[in-house]
């Protein structure tokens, strides 16, 4: 079975079209009735006029009722060019004076005494309209009521009615089409906020769980409210989870430090080479675990601070220098050349000093762990409204295809060595929180570099400077 995709638009258009069709049919029927009535009314006047002309030509002469049929009466009816005319003049004795003796639609002639009577009937196999007009004769020698029964076939009436109906139908058709077009436009316009909401949601950062704040029509507010409610709950869950992770990492750190101290205290001199190797591996793993735990804590801290700490103007050059100092361990391989190149003037950004320091530390740490062979350089620079902190190493670098992936959590370029890290994830998180990005520069003429790119604080510069 084919599943039909439902669409608000097509549903609305279909229903409006149905209503319009029904309305058009109703209007057409009404137009037809109206046109018939109008045509009957117009031609009834002719019929009445002709009948009255004949009654006006009745004369009583020596006790005899005479009637002259004026040509003008027939010419009047002849305005309906194709219609046939039948008539009958009835005297007071009820006898037909002249005309068609059998023209009698079973109408009581006396009913025409008060006012002319109109009837639709059939005569000689043709539909006719009949008018009956009376005249009271009050000649002393001859008194009573005389009647003129005038009938005309209905071709002109029907032609006029159908012409009027056709015209009305054309108008109704045009109006319906206009209404439909208007409806289509109106529906499209009304559904615009839905698309806008969708694109707002799509454009949101996946980490952003704050309430959606867009201008929505009243009808969409419950929908947005539900989304916000859901996001709020999700946010709570995430916060809980983060707190749990932070707590867990914190809990783990104390025994881990103890474990690390215990391992350090182990005397390995007595051990044979095989056991030494095992011990070395234990030390390594404990070190990694300690680092991971620190990173988890650091990540939790960064996230917590990005939600809670108000940004202040800070000198990124200063922060980078401090980060550089703390990131380069005292035990660094003496063969590795490390260098720091600051900026001559303060580079001020609007941000949280602690988070920024953590970000830079993690980038440098990552470079030391996974990149650097002999050279590591940290540079702070500015240009075009941006502040750049560049960490370059002479390692193989990260292939361009992996760049977008490494900023996600628990990914490292050296997969398979058990060195999953949170370093880039933390840096990326901080960069985004500060309205910046983490970029990479491919190894080539220069060394491979990871660049923290932040916008230069505008007011901060003058405030500090």
């Amino acid at each position: 079975m084919m599943r039909r995709e439902t669409s608000l638009f097509s549903r609305l258009v279909l229903r409006v079209a149905l209503v319009l069709c029904g309305g058009a049919a109703l209007l057409a029927t009404a137009a037809w009735y109206y046109a018939r009535a109008a045509a009957d009314d117009a031609y009834d006047r002719l019929l009445l006029g002709a009948a009255i002309q004949i009654t006006a030509n009745m004369t009583v002469d020596a006790g005899n009722l005479g009637v002259t049929l004026p040509s003008s009466a027939f010419e009047l009816l002849g305005l309906a060019e194709r219609d046939r005319i039948f008539y009958r003049v009835v005297g007071p004795d009820g006898k037909t004076l002249t005309g068609y003796d059998d023209l009698d639609a079973g109408i009581d002639l006396t009913s025409a005494r008060a006012a002319p009577v109109f009837r639709s009937a059939e005569y000689r196999n043709a539909p006719v309209r009949i008018a009956i007009v009376s005249r009271a004769l009050s000649d002393p020698s001859f008194s009573g009521w005389a009647y003129v029964v005038m009938a005309q076939t209905t071709e002109a009436r029907r032609a006029l009615a159908s012409e009027l109906t056709t015209r009305a139908m054309i108008l109704v058709g045009i109006m319906s089409l206009l209404a439909l077009a208007g409806t289509v436009l109106a529906i499209r316009y009304s559904l615009l906020p839905v698309g806008k909401l969708a694109s707002t949601l799509r454009a949101r950062d996946p980490q952003d769980l704050t309430p959606v704040d867009v201008d929505m029509p009243r009808e969409l507010k419950p929908f947005v409210g539900s989304i916000n409610h859901f996001m709020g709950r999700l946010d709570e869950r995430v916060t809980l989870l983060q707190r749990f992770i932070a707590d867990a990492a914190h809990q783990i750190r104390t025994p881990l430090t103890a474990l690390s101290a215990q391992v350090d205290m182990l005397d390995d001199e007595d051990l044979d080479a095989d056991r030494k190797r095992h011990l070395e591996r234990v030390r390594d793993r404990v070190g990694q675990l300690a680092r991971l735990t620190n990173q988890l804590l650091s990540h939790a801290m960064v996230i917590h601070r990005s939600d809670s700490v108000r940004f202040k103007p800070v000198d990124l050059g200063d922060i980078a220098r401090k980060a550089f100092r703390s990131a380069i361990p005292v035990t660094v391989d003496p063969d590795v050349v490390v260098s720091f190149e600051g900026c001559t003037e303060p580079v001020v950004v609007l941000g949280d000093a602690l988070s920024l320091r953590e970000a830079i530390v993690n980038i440098i740490d990552n470079a030391l762990q996974h990149g650097t062979v002999q050279r590591l350089a940290v540079r702070v620079g500015r240009g075009d409204g941006r502040v750049l902190v560049e960490v370059a190493d002479d390692g193989p670098g990260i292939p361009a295809g992996e760049w977008s992936r490494v900023t996600a959590r628990f990914v490292s370029s050296k997969t398979g060595e058990g060195s999953m890290g949170l370093g880039f994830a933390i840096a990326a998180e901080v960069a985004v929180a500060h309205g910046g990005t983490i970029r990479f520069r491919e190894k080539g003429e220069h060394d491979f570099a990871v660049i923290l790119d932040l916008p230069l604080g505008k007011e901060g510069a003058s405030w500090l400077g």
């Binding site: 009466a73 060019e81 005319i85």
Partner: protein, 367 residues
């Protein structure tokens, strides 16, 4: 005239036209098909065979396998028989031709006609077509005819009023010398008189009175009046159809034609296909022929001599362009003619006329 000589060949049965009204069967003529006969068209006409023959023969040139059975009636008889046939739902010819168009209009009004629409009928002017059922196929002014030998030039009347005055001032000379229709017998005579009365009722009243004093000679038909003129018994013929008058003037150059200059009624002879027509198809073809350019051309040259488009023949005394001048008043084929066909109206009109002209009081008149 060639077509006059051809007449006897075609006539298979001739009944003498009786001058009195009654159950008169007209003359019946059969025109055999030029090739093997595949159809036979029955025409019942109130139109002299002399006028119809050239048209019928020319039509047969276009339809060589059609034989034509033409019967000539007096207008009133034609109407009566057609009306009865219609009521009884019996066939009565395939096409009716009558100069008394009011009778054809009445028949059509009573539902006795079939509609016929074709290329040719579309070109017929509105005044000569009613409901696509009654078509006027000729153009025949009603004229005055005089005999040149008996009417001096200063006496020649040019309007209805002049004719009245002439009869008033020279009553003795013209007594018994004016010929016109007998309304009691002639449908077309009645129609023309009725329309005269409507066109100018005062003039008509005076004219009628003058005619009465002049003891007008009454005849059933055009040709009867024209033959009286021909023989010199009658000096002036009034309300004669131009076609017959022109044919007569071609036979006798002493007969002259005047188109009245105050107004000239113009009759369009009517054709109608009755509902009971057995060969309506053939009748339609004949009607189309009559209305076609070819048929109109033959009618102008050989049968009716006047036409809607052409000029008035040179020998005729009258305005060159009848209709454009406003003098020619075409009789509109339409429901207005029903007033003329009302039986009460008709009998009263004819009674009044008879009273005046025949000069017999109504109560003394037999039946």
């Amino acid at each position: 005239m060639a077509w006059l000589k051809a007449v006897p060949l075609a006539i298979t049965a001739v009944l003498v036209l009786a001058p009195t009204a009654g159950a008169v069967e007209g003359t019946r003529n059969v025109f055999p098909a030029l090739d093997a006969e595949r159809g036979r068209l029955v025409i019942n006409g109130a139109t002299d065979i002399e006028a119809m023959e050239p048209l019928i023969r020319d039509f047969q040139e276009t339809a060589r396998d059609v034989a034509i059975d033409y019967t000539d009636y007096v207008t009133n008889d034609l109407y009566r028989d057609a009306d009865i046939a219609c009521r009884l739902r019996q066939p009565f010819g395939d096409i009716l031709l009558s100069s008394s168009v009011d009778q054809l209009v009445k028949l059509a009004n009573d539902g006795c006609a079939q509609a016929h629409v074709s290329e040719e009928t579309r070109d017929v002017p509105a005044w000569a077509n009613w409901r696509d059922e009654v078509f006027g196929f000729t153009f025949e002014p009603s004229v005055m005819v005089y005999h040149k030998d008996f009417v001096p030039p200063e006496d020649v009347p040019h309007t209805h009023g002049e004719l009245t005055d002439l009869l008033r001032f020279k009553p003795d000379y013209y007594r018994g010398r004016i010929g016109t229709y007998d309304l009691r017998q002639s449908g077309i005579g009645y129609l023309l008189a009725f329309l005269d009365a409507q066109q100018a009722s005062t003039t008509y009243g005076r004219l009628l009175e003058s005619l009465s004093r002049a003891e007008a000679v009454l005849r059933c038909c055009n040709n009867a009046v024209l033959s009286e003129l021909d023989s010199g018994n009658v000096y002036i013929g009034y309300n004669i159809l131009g076609s017959y008058a022109y044919a007569a003037s071609r036979r006798n150059d002493k007969l002259r034609i005047v188109l009245p200059r105050d107004y000239t009624l113009i009759l369009s002879r009517g054709a109608l296909i009755p509902v009971g027509a057995k060969r309506g198809n053939l009748a339609g073809r004949f009607l189309d022929y009559l209305l076609s350019e070819r048929g109109q051309g033959v009618a102008r040259q050989k049968a009716f001599f006047f036409s809607r488009d052409g000029a008035v023949p040179a020998e005729v005394d009258g305005p060159a362009k009848l209709v454009e001048s406003g003098i020619g008043r075409p009789i509109r084929i339409g429901p207005a003619l029903l007033a003329a066909q009302d039986r009460l109206q008709r009998s009263r009109f004819i009674d009044d006329w008879t009273n005046l002209i025949v000069n017999t009081p109504v109560r003394l008149r037999p039946n």
